[in-house]
Amino acid sequence: MKKNQTLKSVYLDHGATTPADPKVIEAMQPYYSEKFGNASSIHWFGKKAREGLEKARETIAARLNADKEEIIFTSGGTEANNMAIRGILDAEKGRNHVIISKIEHPAVLRTCQALEKKGVDVTYLDVDKDGFISLEELEQAITGRTALVSIMHANNEIGTIQDIKAIAEICKRKKVKFHTDAVQSFTKVPLDVEDIPADLISLSAHKIHGPKGVGALFVRKGVELAKQMHGGHQEKDLRGGTENVPGIVGFAKAAELAEQKHVQHMQELRDCFIEKVLQNIPDSVLNGSKERRLCNNANISFKFIEGEALLLHLDEEGIAVSTGSACTSQSLEPSHVLLAIGLEQDVAHGAIRFTLGRENTQEEMDYVFDRLKKSVESLRKISPLGK
């Protein structure tokens, strides 16, 4: 395929990762060069690093209305998810049942599948066509042996926002721990731990214009977690390893910079784009809930064509998106999320995920719409399906 010859570049894959904000990079820099000490060292260099680390911890905690003692920094969302699930199971002797949804991120799904091989019992809750679990089914699935329920706050593929407050309350009532993967929702959807009685919450920096390789796990006071990463006694002896202070400082800066006005901006652009696409490109369908949806997510299936082909067409025009099609996965199976919400396989193959960022503009979205329409038409012309 010929190289991208257009000057325009529009990044619409913020669900995959985001560019680090210049202010984030600026905030991180001193912790690489001057305040580079090991935060556990008791000399001046260590103290400076420790100050930055603890200030960052307060910032992240404040964003959740949590206590700073409740924030454990990790290498990212995947580690936080692993830590939560494995940590609870190892701590809760005698209870070895976990309940998750069918649309969890692979970091949760595959961790549970791996634990199943070791004798853990896992219940995978179905979701409806919009991606919601049934609260009744959840309640019925909880037994005396259930150690943990893990349901993600906002789904990374279709953007559906679960009612985690209701889920947390059921779990609290039934005396079962509740974990939620809030990697996609943190700073985009209100998340107050005084309001939502979740026990564990996973967070990640690189989805909010922070650096890659850093995240956190909120662990509510009183929740016992078995250590998974042995080594030093860092992070309240829950997670060994020299703290990634520059990364953590960057994470906190990114959380500070995320504002409600960004959420509104992304939502407006996104809503306008969805409407335009559904009205002007025939045989296109929105996947996931229209109303309870992450502000920057639009997952749309274009019938009769295949996702990867469309993705590469758009890439030629400088537009970056992602797809749930089989061809981009290692297993040649389409997205488990799209199949779980009941999409026919061929419709799942034609799904494109557009995830906006705060820097996207209306002009960019108009350009994307224009190119999208042309690419869809071009691929439909050579498709044996349709008409």
């Binding site: 009769f304 064509i305 082909a309 061809c327 396989q345």
Partner: protein
């Protein structure tokens, strides 16, 4: 890429159509061959599939134009992949499907299935 319609046929020409794959698997091709006196005059294909599938199917049509039926039977998935400069292992199945489409069309032709004569 595209199709060949019955209307295009001139006297003595035949059109054979073959369909392989299915949308559930994410790969489907419909191949059209225009044949006269055991020679392939034109070939077009419609593909539902990824970029590699589209490329394999397109290049297959280019490889068969001008060849005799006997020569076309000799086209392998390795030849198709080589014509594209190679394929990553995970996309190898796309070249399989393109050649399946070709061989099904040739087979259809020989058995008189899905053949339209002018």
């Amino acid at each position: 890429m595209g199709e060949i319609s019955e209307e295009e046929l001139k006297p003595g020409e035949e059109l054979v159509i073959a369909e392989v794959g299915n949308p559930t698997c994410g790969d489907m091709m419909t191949l059209y061959l225009k044949i006269k006196d055991q020679k392939i005059l034109d070939a077009k294909i419609k593909t539902f599939g990824c970029a590699a599938a589209i490329a394999c199917s397109s290049v297959t049509t280019e490889l068969v134009i001008g060849k005799t039926i006997a020569e076309a039977w000799k086209i392998t998935k390795e030849k198709v992949a080589a014509e594209l400069g190679g394929l990553p292992p995970i996309k190898a199945h796309c070249s399989n499907l393109a050649v399946d489409a070709l061989q099904k069309a040739l087979d259809n032709y020989e058995r008189g299935v899905n053949v339209i004569k002018k």
